[in-house]
Each structure stands twice: as C-alpha cells, then as structure tokens.
Amino acid sequence: MNHKQDSDEEWLFEIKPKNKFFELNLKEVWQYRDLLTLFVKRDIVTVYKQTVLGPLWYLIQPLLTSLIFTIIFNSVAGINTGSTPPFLFNLAGITIWNYFTSCLNDTSDTFKKNAAIFGKVYFPRVIMPISIVISNLLKFGIQFTIFIGFYIYFYIKGAEISLNEYTLLFPLLIIIMGFLGLGLGMIISSLVTKYRDFSYLVSFGVQLLMYLSAVMYPMALIVDKIPKYAWVVRYNPLAYVIESTRFMLLNVGEITLLGLLYTSVVTVIVFFVGLLVFNKTEKSFIDTV
C-alpha cells in the first residue's frame, strides 16, 4: 500500500546515473542567474587586485603584438594591406582574435581549475564557462577602445579607412567569437578531465590556428599565393570572422554573406556539441580529474 503510494508521489528531482542524451536544463541555469552575475563580478573585481598597472596589461599585449606583426609581416615579409595602415589592419584582427583565444583558453580548463569547488558543491557547471565568456567581454571592450583610439588617430592623419553599412553587424561577430570560444572550450575542458594531453594541444594549437585564420594577412592573399591550400583558410570559420571584422571596421578585404552564414552554422553546431559533451562530463568528472 504504502509503497504504491510512494511511486505516485511527486518528486522534485531525481539524481540518476546518466543524463538523457540531450538535456540542457536551462531552467536550472536561469535559477542560478544570480550566481552567474556574481561570478562575472568576482572575475572583474579581483583580476587587478595587487597589480600596479591594472587594466593597462590588457593594452600592452595587443599593442606589442600588432607592432611586431607590422614589423615582421608587413615591413620585413612585405605583406601588402593596401591603403589601410598595416598597424591598424593587424590591431583589428588581433583584437577580435584575442577575444576568441581568451574565451577558449579560460574555459578550456574549467573542470581542472575548479575541481576543488566542483567537488564540494553542486550548481549547474555551465555557469562557470558562461561567466568567463561574459567577463572576457570587458577585456575585449578595453582592447576595442584602444583600437578606436588608433582608428581616430589614423583617420585624422588621413588614412583611407571608413565604416560601412555592415558595421552594424559587428556585434554579431563578437557573439560568434564568444560562442565559438565557449563551445570549443567546453569540449576541450571535458576531454582534459580525463586526458591531460589536450591541455598541451590547446596551448600550441591556438598559435597554429592563428596562422590559419587570416589574422595577419588578407584572405585574398592566400588565395592568390597558394590557391592549392587556400581551402584550409576557406573552411576555417574563424578566418571569416577576422576578414569580416576588417571589412566592417576598415572597409578592407571581402565579406560574403554565405561565409558569415557558414560561420554561424558552424558556431551553433560547435556550441551545442560543447554543451552536450560538457553536460555529460559534469556528472562524473570529479572521479577522473
């Protein structure tokens, strides 16, 4: 009697061995939205405690990288950026590229870095990488501000740069970069819990990827110089984002709606695969990490 009654009762939730194949539990993430904002706040507030230069560190890295790229690739190797100042050309690519890599790098060790806290208390794990992607927006914002500064400087000096109607789509590129970084980061963080090999792969893989993503050269150049291998860059969704960024901000290079559509589709797929893998891992990663 009693037993039968039990089975009819309403249970709030069940803890079971495995998730259903696709279970996102977005409702739960929404319940923990306060935690998300607190994590973002924590990341932003604590990152510069006890540093002298503070957020200036965010500026030094892209500026020096752009400077070196300009010297090596444009002055020494002679890559032609047309009428656009090479420094601004590089800075545009590096700024958006940095947002992607910081999202990827910071999310890819989510499980490993937070093992202590994940091992003690439950909350939807996905809150952690999402908060990283959001707080990295601040870093991107600072770097983008310095880009705008140089943009105005070069504009006043009379460089041939201009915005166009596509500039309005720029926020879409930021979102794509965020979600791509998040998706890939979640996949890698899940793999790293069991096989540490992947964390080595990320650090040098990202560097290699930069060369394949048209960060320091226009896309047309690679098609022109090595048409046989240009497909590597053509099929790389990141290359489209970089190329489109420069088109939207500097009116240089090419933009294809098909390319953007392709990039968006890849991003959505990567993001959902990431969520799936991440959700599967979060249930028992603490046993293997």
């Binding site: 039990d6 009762e9 803890i15 079971k16 061995p17 003690k120 208390v121 909350f123």
Partner: protein
C-alpha cells in the same frame, strides 16, 4: 499512516577504477563504448571488488558503494557513520550531486544544499560581505534571499568589524565562522553536513551544534549529518545508518547504530599455548534479564561472560575495561580483584555474571575492551570494543525539574546525613 518521506535512495552503487589514468584507460573506454553502441551492458560493471582497502583485490575496479537503500523523513536528522573509507564521503557526494552514481538513484522532494566544506568558493581578495553573497549563491541562495538574511548572517558570524575587509586578512577562525554563518542560513529543505563542526573554537562549535539542532527541531528541516564525533552525532541525530565497505550494515535508531559502530572486534577465542582458554560470548543484560544495549542509569547492569578453560592455569586472569564516548577509561574490572576463585578455575565452561549496581555510570555511550592477562600483568590477548552500551537517564535524580545534560563522569546517589550542629 503514510510516512512523509522527503528523500529516498534506491540501490545506489558507485564504481571506481583504481590505479592511474593512462594508456589502459583508453582501451577500457573504447571497449565500454563498443559495448554501448551494440546495446550491450557495460562489461566493467559485472566485475569489481568490495571496498576494503586493507585487502589487495584482484580487480582494477572497486565498488565504493553497493546497493545503498534508505529513506529519510521530513524533519529527521540522519547520522551517517562509518570508519574511514566506508563510503560516507562518496555517498554524500552523490546526494549533493557532485558526482553521479554508477547505478541506482536518489529521489527527493526538496532542495538539497550540501555543506561538505565551509567557505567553498570564498575568494581571498573579496571582502567578507562580498564573499557572503558569492558563497551564498554558490550554495544555491538567490541574491534577494541573501540580502534579507545578511544582518542575521553577519551577526551569527561575529565578525562585524571586519565585514568590509578582504577575507585574506582574516584569521582562520574568523574565516570559518563567516563561512559557517552563510551555510547555517540556507533555506533548503534538506541540508547535508560533513564534519564541518570540527573547526573553530569550542564556543563556536557549540553555537554550530545548537544551530543545527534549531534547523531540524525548530524549523522542521531535514539534516543528513556525517561525523566521527559520536557525542555530537548522538545529540543531534534521531536515526542513523552505518556503512562498512560500501554497504549499509545497520539502519536503525541512532543509539543502536552508534553502539554497533562502536563495537569493533569480533569476540575471538584466545589461543595462547595450546588454546588454554577463550571468551565464548559477552552479553549485556538490563535489570529484567533481557539482553539490551540501552540501559537506564537506575537499573543494575549485568555483563554475562562465557569462558572456556581448557587447561587450568593459576597464572591466569582477565580484565574488562569500560571506556566512555570520549575514549576515557571509566573503570577496569580485573578478575583478581573480584574473586580469587576465578584464577583457579578447573577445565570446563563457565558463565560469569558481573553485576554493576545502578547509579554508577552517567548517561552516555560506553565501549568494552576485554583482555586475558597474567598475574604479573602480561597481556596475552586483547579484544577491543567487543561490545558497547548506552546509558540513559531515568529521571530520578532530576525530580522532573532539571532537563539538561547531567554533568560528571559517574552518576552517584550519595547518602546524605544531616545533623543540626548549632
């Protein structure tokens, strides 16, 4: 009547792989995956040793938990006890959703908040106030809930003065106080607490214990409490489960479970030089002559020992040592001091009744050690914790006026003679 069950564990099992993650792991993973896509059962679930760390097992897989079933009613405080490695932490991890069970599941009707550690997620650079918000949110509270309880939390922690100082400047005691204060104000229906009370000074520990009591008794919330500290388990919990090698070996009222836990050694025969003598059994009876582990302080306690003597030995004795729950020796009963005759027992089997009169032991848990020894004091065979018993208060001394814990290690009712001298 139907029971108001808030949490139900059904056949929880948890398998762990031993050794290191390496090349062997990937082949097992592939094999598991190959079985899975063919719709077959995970091949590694069939194998696995029970969880006994002292024995070298034959398999790489062990069951940290195996077929755990229990129910918890609303408002109940369930004590989970067991030795190190019995599976307590694994069980808590599953209940607090930190890790998933290999098979089986848990059903619950309330929010579960777990306190496996105090101060999870505290950031050293943030101030006390900021950390209250962060830690509270990690434990599942909303911002509004925390704001509503902020004053209460700060007040409970007793660190008002430092609340806007980064917690890295805190002493470890202040840190723990603040952390526990947040946790104590969680509003979940089920609260899981792992030995967090072993931190902080005595005063704060007392405060924590009484807060835990309030949570369960006053607010009617359910608490699952894990600790090695039997006095606090006994005072907080009303039910208990005892884990051993990943299995529940006792699920009962807390006193019974603690007594079982405290009873350690199997009674074993003494095999010294041609198996001269042995202890066959050791039982504790109440004043009605019924075997029991719950004895009132107002009744005689009888210990019945069955001894077997295979060879008479004048240089032979035994000792019963009784310890309280703080592991303090309360009394030792030695055969020489009871009766000279025992030493000269002839070959045969004997039953000894050792009667401890009423009003000797104060309330609490006691364990019994037994050993055979020689007159000169050489211990031949030591049996630790062969049994345990619980003394409860009969209320006689109190006269229904005082309801607190009766202080002292013994409970003597002295004779008091009053002579008027002036």
């Amino acid at each position: 009547m139907s029971k108001n069950i808030i949490l139900k564990a059904e056949n929880i099992s948890k398998q762990y792989r031993l050794g290191q993650v390496g090349t062997g792991t990937i082949s097992h993973d592939l094999n598991r995956w190959w079985h899975q896509i063919r719709g077959k059962e995970n091949p590694y679930l069939k194998i696995g040793d029970t969880n006994d760390r002292s024995i070298v097992g034959s398999s790489d897989y062990v069951w940290a938990l195996k077929d755990i079933n229990f129910e918890v009613e609303r408002g109940e405080v369930l004590g989970i006890i067991g030795k190190n490695g019995a599976g307590k932490s694994t069980l808590l991890k599953i209940l607090s959703r930190v890790t998933a069970p290999t098979t089986g599941g848990v059903k619950t009707k309330g929010r579960i908040a777990s306190l496996l550690e105090v101060g999870t997620g505290f950031h050293p650079e943030l101030t006390g106030r900021e950390n209250i918000y962060l830690n509270g949110a990690i434990l599942g509270m909303s911002k509004n809930e925390i704001t509503r309880k902020l004053d209460e939390i700060i007040d409970f922690s007793g660190v008002e003065r430092y609340i806007d100082t980064p917690v890295k400047r805190y002493s470890s005691g202040m840190y723990v106080r603040l952390a526990f204060a947040v946790a104590a104000h969680l509003e979940s229906e089920v609260l899981i607490v792992d030995e967090v009370l072993s931190v902080g000074d005595a005063e704060f520990q007392k405060k924590c214990l009484s807060k835990m009591g309030d949570i369960s008794k006053g607010e009617g919330r359910t608490v699952l409490f894990v600790s090695h500290n039997m006095p606090s388990v006994k005072s907080l919990c009303n039910k208990g489960i005892l884990l051993e090698h990943g299995k529940i070996i006792k699920d009962d009222k807390i006193d019974e479970v603690i007594t079982k836990y405290m009873t350690n050694d199997e009674i074993s025969s003494f095999e010294y030089e041609n198996n001269e003598c042995g202890l066959k059994s050791f039982e504790i009876l109440n004043s009605k002559g019924v075997q029991s582990i719950n004895i009132s302080n107002g009744e005689d306690l009888t210990m019945i020992l069955t001894l077997e003597i295979k060879k008479a030995n004048p240089d032979f004795g035994f000792c019963i040592a009784i310890y309280n729950e703080y592991e303090e020796l309360i009394t030792a009963i030695n055969s020489y001091h009871i009766n000279e005759k025992i030493i000269n027992l002839k070959r045969g089997q004997y039953s000894l009744n050792v009667v401890v009169p009423k009003y000797v032991f104060n309330t609490g848990l006691y364990t019994v050690n037994f050993h055979f020894n020689s007159i000169s004091g050489v211990i031949y065979k030591k049996m630790e914790r062969i049994t345990a018993f619980n003394i409860y208060d009969d209320g006689y001394r109190r006269g229904n006026k005082y309801s607190g814990l009766w202080p002292g290690k013994v409970s003597i009712i002295p004779n008091i003679y009053i002579n008027e001298t002036a």
